[in-house]
Symmetry: C2
Subunit: 253 residues, 2 copies
């Protein structure tokens, strides 16, 4: 048996400010984080070597950020992990930083092996948007009933069909997912929605936030998010909250 | 007596990300915060009205940030302060935000009336620079003896001739200033130097930080900052720390 797959698997931990990018996933129109990392790694390979494929745990949307995205890649070179780490950070722009490069078991796959992910969504509530967080929040300088938002979150925790919270046109076969945690936290001038679960549909966190805010703003009554969930159709839910407020915080294995 | 000075004085509180600007002060080469604010205010005046002059409490350098710069301006119009506040934020770019506009006593002058200012300087010490703070810190991923830095600060508190901590070529007549506070604080992955005083020379905080770091890095012995102070010449001190790490936090009246 001839195995053409390289025998070595690297695990990368990557932080990025997603503001200027078309998201994690390689795109034909727009620069993605995946492409940047693949291109930077390719420089370790012989000319003419097959293209490397870097797999991220989360396919973050355009404009979404990551504190610690995890990615895996099979590589045909044997440079020490520490040298790869240094070289990647020299080659990548300053808004994409590789926090760690480690040798992983041959079969490790960042997406399929992940057991859970945690996202944080930041809503900025002061009347004037701070210049220092403007790329990382949704600015909503309006009265918001945080306790009402908290009440709605109880409907979402657990295993449900989240079809109402999936972007239109997504090609998912199965929209059943499990959320272990949906918390609404208070920070100075901010409201944070923290969501943790084993898997997420496209735009799921942003539609959940957009729906919780409908109740927090008083435009929908208590219990409405439960009705949205039961409807199992995107049209029932609130708007998709802006990408800038979302950050991938942690991937669990 | 004919008084051509407008009778109304406004007090502005302004936050800005200084990254893209030539500093507070109007420059012939490069866009300043002062110019942006003056131009935005000018739109309230009749065509042909004399140019407004906005005076800032601190003339922050190019690349230096402000959480709450205070500025004063005499204006010939009587639009309510709240309307001026709203209109300024519509006209200014998102990295310059007016936090407040208030009517002030006619004689109020943001610079001459200030009794003190507080600055914070952020040093980022983790090996990989976080994309989210890269514009607001000095990245120094090297061992640093914080306790040694703290010891040096005791030499600086009080009234001294700070000539060693003044930029070369500055045209100050008198380099005697009073520092009430020089603290070295620890934050996650960061060291902060907090300096509060009644007045500051050009580059003073940045040269103080550059000098404290010389001792923290072990390149200079304990007590060296006291020798620098006594020398009363710029050449005796450490390098000027980069502008990006500095933020004007508070102006006291």
């Amino acid at each position: 048996v001839i195995d053409h797959q390289p025998a070595r698997t690297l695990r990368l931990t990557i932080a990025y400010d997603g503001t200027g990018y078309a998201g994690w996933q390689r795109q034909t129109n727009g620069l993605s984080i995946q492409q940047l990392v693949e291109d930077a790694l390719q420089t370790f390979c012989h000319a003419g070597a097959p293209r490397l494929s870097v797999h991220g745990a989360s396919r973050t949307d355009a404009g979404v950020h990551a504190l610690a995205q995890v990615a895996s890649v099979r590589v045909p070179f044997d440079a020490p992990a520490r040298a790869v780490w240094r070289a990647l950070n020299v080659r990548l722009p300053l808004d994409v930083r590789v926090l760690a490069v480690e040798d992983a078991p041959h079969t490790f796959h960042a997406r399929f092996d992940a057991s859970g992910k945690r996202y944080r969504y930041r809503i900025f509530t002061a009347s004037v948007l701070s210049p220092f967080v403007r790329a990382y929040v949704w600015h909503r300088p309006y009265p918001t009933d945080v306790e009402a938002m908290r009440q709605e979150t109880t409907r979402l925790v657990g295993t449900h069909d989240f079809a109402s919270f999936e972007a239109r046109g997504a090609q998912t076969l199965d929209s059943i997912r499990t959320l272990e945690r949906v918390d609404v936290e208070i920070a100075p001038d901010e409201i944070h929605v923290v969501v943790e679960g084993s898997g997420f549909l496209r735009h799921m966190v942003r539609i959940i936030v957009g729906s919780l805010v409908e109740v927090g703003a008083g435009r929908r009554p208590a219990g409405w998010v439960g009705e949205v969930l039961a409807a199992r159709t995107r049209g029932a839910a609130g708007p998709t909250a802006p990408a800038a407020g979302l950050v991938l915080e942690h991937v669990r294995y």
